[in-house]
């Protein structure tokens, strides 16, 4: 089922050659570094490491990652075996590895994973603090997903995050009589209605699309001031704010292009690339795949990005898909593993990787704001801020396995979809979502 694995990346393959060329110029020279004493991690004798990470989404992602690992082997003598698995499978493999105490020493898993296995992973505070000091500090989501809830102990090392702001066609907005994306709900509704009128509609996934649909559902909820749970982990989804969000989506949905109820993660990319869709949200990969294919180059030239409409939120109501590194207690070579993670985050290695990925895995350390990749194309500047988003899955509560389950079970997506399709009243939908969420947070 290749269409779900590397879902965002399926269209970005054409971007590979351009990305490699760009990555060759990125050597970390432009990244400001503070003068910090190097980490003191005596590497164990005869150490070797095994690492598991999600499949690449563009070729340079894997090529540069492997090259960096080979460089580490050359400098320290520690061989690192890198294995890649499908996006949908890595969470299960992480679970097995954590429970059996065998398998890879390091896993670059998804955001919540180190928090789920907090007592199975070693603390990475020394590495994280060293990197933070050297590279201007961690960005918001970096700290959020790195530190154990309500402590200063780092259990994960976020290596990057991918966000999905608005992607739209400038010409379509102009034709509909708008010169920019509004920041309030009324404006958003008006814009979508106007786009519908000129037959250049907006569209956001409401089907079982892990990334896109959850992104849309969270956006609608957060921008109305709602949240799934409160600070203490109590389920508060059945609220006045949620009802407002549901009523808004009920009005917004008729302006969408047809079929969004059955969209998966790749659907909006395809519709956008074929002039059927003019206003949606997606990772940076959509833009690059358009830009690097001569057939769709005109669409890319006409494309702009904007932050998700804020509504009542103070910042863009958006989280990120975070790549979170963790080292398991069962490793025989904890120092080597930590040294490796630190090495991969150093400018000489990280900058080419960040650049090769075209900013898809946006950086978690502030100094990388200065990376050349963000100047390579002014239209992607927005993605630079991805890890500064102030929201996370399971907002506002602590990061837990239940938050991951709610996402995987599409609880919020289906809450919105049932109201949009007229199958449930807002009150019933919110109650059903509460019932399901309670089950996972029991």
């Amino acid at each position: 089922m290749a269409f779900i694995i590397r879902r965002r990346g399926a269209m970005a393959l054409g971007a590979s050659a351009a990305a490699m060329a760009l990555a060759r110029q990125a050597t970390g020279q432009t990244i400001p570094k503070a003068d910090v004493p190097p980490l003191n991690l005596p590497i164990e004798k005869g150490a070797t490491l095994r690492l598991l990470r999600p499949a690449r989404f563009v070729e340079p992602d894997e090529v540069i990652f492997r090259a960096n690992s080979a460089k580490f082997a050359k400098e320290t003598g520690v061989e690192v075996k890198v294995d890649l698995v499908g996006w949908e499978d890595i969470r299960q493999q992480t679970a097995v590895s954590a429970n059996t105490g065998a398998g890879p020493d390091i896993i670059l898993g998804w955001a919540e994973d180190p928090h789920i296995y907090a007592d199975k992973v070693i603390e990475l505070s020394d590495v994280a603090e060293y990197l933070g000091k050297k590279y201007g500090g961690w960005m918001f989501l970096g700290e959020k997903f790195g530190k154990r809830a309500k402590t200063n102990n780092w259990i994960g090392l976020p290596m990057g995050g991918s966000g999905g702001p608005l992607v739209y066609r400038v010409s379509a907005l102009k034709e509909a009589g708008h010169d920019k994306v509004p920041t309030d709900h009324a404006g958003l509704l008006k814009l979508c209605q106007d786009l519908k009128k000129i037959n250049k509609p907006a569209g956001f996934a409401l089907g079982n699309a892990v990334g896109d649909a959850n992104g849309f559902a969270n956006w609608m909820l957060w921008s109305h001031g709602g949240s799934l749970i409160d600070d203490d982990g109590k389920v508060v989804i059945n609220s006045k704010e949620t009802l407002n969000a549901l009523n808004f989506v009920k009005e917004l949905y008729p302006t969408f292009v047809s079929g969004t109820m059955s969209w998966n993660d790749i659907s909006n990319n395809r519709a956008y690339a074929s002039n059927e869709l003019f206003f949606t949200s997606n990772g940076v990969s959509l833009y690059f795949s358009l830009k690097n294919d001569p057939a769709t180059k005109p669409i890319a030239d006409d494309t702009e990005h904007a932050p998700l409409v804020k509504g009542l939120a103070s910042t863009a109501p958006m989280s990120a898909t975070v790549l979170n590194g963790m080292v398991f207690k069962h490793t025989k070579f904890p120092n080597a593993a930590k040294a490796y993670l630190a090495f991969m985050m150093e400018a000489e290695q990280y900058d080419p990787w960040l650049t090769g990925c075209l900013g898809y895995w946006s950086h978690p350390l502030k100094a990388y704001d200065k990376s050349k990749v963000w100047e390579s194309d002014p239209k992607i500047a927005l993605y630079r801020e991805t890890m500064n988003n102030q929201f996370w899955s399971g907002y506002k509560g602590p990061i837990t396995q239940a938050a991951g389950t709610v996402t995987a079970e599409y609880v919020l997506v289906q809450m919105f979809a049932s109201v949009a399709s007229g199958q449930a009243t807002p009150a019933d939908a919110a109650k059903e979502a509460e019932r399901r969420t309670r089950r996972y947070y029991r």
């Binding site: 992480t94 429970n99 079970e409 979809a417 059903e432």
Partner: protein, 318 residues
């Protein structure tokens, strides 16, 4: 005088060695022959089944040991509208798709049983939908049903101009359900048709000749010769077909993933969704266990309602 006594001489029979004796010992032989098969069944069937049933009574999550919670999972499912939706659609999907497959499959088998040119070639072609890996045909249907790029929509909107909007195959409840059933029928026809064709060819032509002499009509020949003689094989094929359809997973998962709004979840896809994607292994196992009564019921129905004919047991049919 010497008397030589010659006893009844018999050739000293060599005592068979212990190994040969062991293998002549019937209880041992039975055990030795059964062990490999029993071992396979235990390891690959009984153990996973038992584990699944055990898991359904625990709150196990992926990545965490669970504890025994009795029938709490089932209690939750009883009041879970999604679960009942999946039960309904599983039964509906199985019922309608099986009916469709048998109606069309039997028709196809009757056609193929006649003398048509290129008979073997035709039969080979008929099998194609069944040979293609399900995921591949599911992907093909996924494109056919795509909200933006469906070929049907293209023909209707852009070529013929008889519609102004594309067909909505998968975004609303009932069209999505029927679309999946159509895909399943398409895939299942060959199996039914070829199996029934094999059954048709075992019916002796002399029966038809006799009936013709009696001046029977085509319908009478079908009703009183073909159908009764086909019934045993029909029962077996139907049992298999019901089980395959009820436990279908790939088509639904690849085309709709249970959407829109969980309206096309079968019990199998819901179990996977809850157990693996959602990480609630215990609950997923409970859904899978809930399928067992349906499957046992379907099997018993086929055997008792369709196949228990006295003539099969060597008695006369009265």
């Amino acid at each position: 005088m010497t008397v030589v006594t010659t006893g009844d001489w018999t050739r000293a029979r060599p005592q068979p060695n212990w190994l040969a004796r062991l293998f002549d010992y019937k209880p041992f032989l039975v055990l030795a022959c059964l062990t490999p098969a029993l071992g396979l069944l235990l390891v690959f069937l009984t153990y996973p089944l038992g584990l699944g049933i055990w898991l359904s009574f625990t709150d196990t999550k992926i990545g965490g040991a669970g504890k025994y919670i009795g029938i709490e999972n089932f209690e939750y499912l009883l009041e879970d509208p999604q679960f009942w939706g999946a039960v309904f659609y599983s039964v509906f999907y199985t019922g309608v798709a099986t009916f469709g497959k048998f109606a069309l499959g039997l028709w196809l088998a009757l056609l193929l049983n006649n003398h048509v040119p290129f008979k073997s070639l035709l039969r080979a072609i008929i099998l194609l939908p069944w040979i293609v890996p399900t995921v591949l045909s599911a992907l093909a249907f996924w494109w056919l049903y795509d909200p933006q790029f469906s070929i049907f929509s293209y023909v209707a909107v852009d070529v013929l101009g008889i519609r102004s909007t594309p067909f909505d195959f998968l975004s609303t409840t009932w069209p999505a359900r029927w679309s999946l059933i159509a895909a399943n029928i398409w895939r299942g026809i060959p199996f039914v048709a070829i199996s029934l064709l094999a059954g048709l060819q075992t019916i002796s032509p002399s029966l038809y000749e006799a009936a013709l002499l009696d001046g029977s009509s085509a319908w009478q020949r079908f009703r009183y010769i073909t159908f009764p003689l086909l019934l045993p094989i029909l029962a077996i094929v139907m049992t298999f077909s019901i089980i395959f359809t009820f436990t279908d997973f790939q088509l639904v998962y690849a085309i709709t993933r249970g959407g829109p709004l969980n309206s096309t979840h079968l019990m199998a896809t819901l179990a996977f969704q809850r157990g693996i994607s959602g990480g609630e292994l215990g609950e997923g196992a409970a859904i899978a266990v809930a399928m067992i009564p349906f499957l046992v019921g379907a099997t018993l129905f086929s055997y008792f309602a369709l196949a228990r004919r006295k003539w099969q047991q060597g008695e006369s049919d009265d």
